[in-house]
């Protein structure tokens, strides 16, 4: 990932889309809605995030928010991996837990 300064309120971050998933970047951006908005676009190899910070601003705060955002993208990407890896066993656990409760009858289980 790399970043390019535009002007003080805007920063562009680039994430390699073969390394990071788009949902992970979107979820990370959502977490920081109170501090900045993110315009997210794709090009051939990259996920491009243009961050627009909510004033009041100072350089130290902006730098910290960018670092925190990058860490959050990593965390969200890891969460995606865990979710994918544990999905079959998660379904098994839920089935074991609730199959005999009568909560869901045949054909009445909503698709999630």
């Amino acid at each position: 990932m790399s970043n390019t300064g535009l002007e003080s309120r805007h920063t562009i971050l680039r994430f390699d889309k073969f390394v990071f998933s788009l949902p992970a970047v979107k979820k990370a951006a959502y977490k920081f809605l109170n501090a900045f908005t993110a315009d997210i676009n794709l090009d051939q190899d990259e996920i491009i995030c243009t961050l627009t910070f909510t004033p009041p601003l100072n350089e130290e705060l902006t730098s910290r928010l960018i670092e925190d955002f990058k860490k959050e993208v990593l965390d969200q990407d890891l969460r995606e991996q865990i979710r994918s890896e544990t999905e079959p066993i998660r379904k098994l656990i839920f089935a074991l837990a609730f199959s005999k409760t009568g909560i869901a009858r045949d054909g009445q289980v909503p698709s999630d």
């Binding site: 965390d75 969460r79 544990t86 066993i89 656990i93 074991l96 837990a97 409760t101």
Partner: protein, 367 residues
């Protein structure tokens, strides 16, 4: 004499293949993460340990390995029963779901003689009869109530000020009790009232039908009256008088109170708690303004931010902990709810703390 084999021969292989179980994680600080799972188990790990664990690189002689296995964050060849155990814990934690909801709120009127700016319903002025629930709606609501598979049904009357439509409350209580002869559920009733209109006749009906009273007490006289305006500026006096009368007729344990913190409350948490002590309550629920109903229109829910709320809450909680240490038994109900949710296998089912992502959001039925 034969030689002994080297000790390494008898040790289990240091890298074991394990399978991750579903988990969530969030950073606590620069170096530590907390992980949680479906059953409410949690563990604090160093960042590096978490990374090793998630990459399947954690050695089985790592001190955290056994904790992770015991708390159902991983399974290996020695713990194949873990999914069943985790399912059992999950099922215990959410056992209330199989009963759907037992709490049914009947908003019998939107009228109120108070004009509290933080009110979470869309309150109407007192003379607009068209804002009362009709008998037809009430009977339909009872049909819905008794469809609940829960053996425990609680009907809570809310408003506005529900006592402004007490005739309908009486009708619903009598009708519910009659229908319950067939259903044989544990049926309970609560009236959420400001007590300004309470009288002996109403209380005798409450006593005869085991109806509990839940009221609002925001703190000392000046604060309460500022928060809860009504003609005569005497909400506090009415509430205290009503609490005493209700306790005398119904019994002390049948009357409870809730507070709401406005901006004016933020500097006097100890005085608010002292008021609850003076009125001989055994605890308090420190609650911020909810962003619903009239509170949206008046913007009162935006009068303070989370940071100021937390400062208020922490000061109050510290004061209550100190009271208990000095021998006065007194509970803060929000802390109690959170601790129960975090530290026990039983989920208290408090709607405001139930995340949609848990797949179990189950609010009360509001009619």
């Amino acid at each position: 004499m034969g030689k002994f084999q080297a000790i390494e021969l008898y040790k289990a292989p240091q890298t074991s293949s394990y399978t991750l179980l579903p988990l969530r994680f969030t950073p606590l600080d620069q170096d530590h993460y907390v992980i949680t799972n479906l059953a409410g188990e949690y563990l604090r790990l160093r960042k590096t340990t978490l990374a090793d664990f998630l990459r399947h690189k954690l050695s089985n002689d790592d001190p955290n390995y056994m904790e992770l296995r015991a708390r159902h964050f991983l399974i290996d060849e020695t713990s194949s029963i873990a999914p069943e155990l985790l399912a059992l814990k999950l099922r215990t934690r959410y056992s209330r779901l199989s009963e759907f909801t037992g709490l049914h709120l009947f908003v019998v009127t939107l009228r109120c003689e108070h004009s509290c700016p933080y009110c979470q319903v869309s309150r109407q002025s007192e003379d607009k009869l068209r804002y009362d629930m009709s008998l037809e709606i009430a009977l339909g609501a009872l049909d819905l109530t008794f469809q609940s598979p829960s053996p425990n049904i609680k009907i809570e009357f809310q408003g506005g000020e529900p006592l402004l439509n007490f005739d309908l409350i009486q009708h619903i209580v009598l009708e519910a009790k009659q229908r319950n002869q067939r259903f044989a559920k544990n049926l309970a009733f609560v009236i959420a009232t400001n007590l300004a209109l309470i009288n002996g006749e109403i209380l005798r009906f409450c006593r005869d039908h085991s109806i509990q009273i839940s009221t609002s007490l925001d703190g000392p006289q000046e604060l309460h009256n500022a928060n809860r305006p009504r003609p005569g500026n005497n909400s506090y006096e009415k509430t205290i008088e009503g609490i005493k009368l209700a306790r005398a007729v119904l019994g002390r344990d049948q009357v409870s109170a809730l507070m709401t913190a406005t901006e004016a409350s933020l500097n006097c948490v100890e005085e608010i708690i002292n008021e609850y002590l003076a009125q001989e309550f055994k605890g308090i629920f420190l609650r911020p303004v909810s962003p619903y109903g009239f509170a949206i229109k008046t913007k009162s829910y935006r009068a303070y931010n989370a940071e100021r709320w937390l400062a208020f809450y922490k000061q109050g909680l510290n004061y209550i902990v100190d009271l208990n240490r000095r021998g006065t038994e007194f509970m803060e109900h929000f802390a109690s709810t959170i601790l129960k949710k975090v530290l026990t296998s039983e989920d208290p089912g408090y709607v405001d703390l139930t995340s949609v992502r848990n797949h179990v959001k189950l609010p009360p039925v509001i009619i």
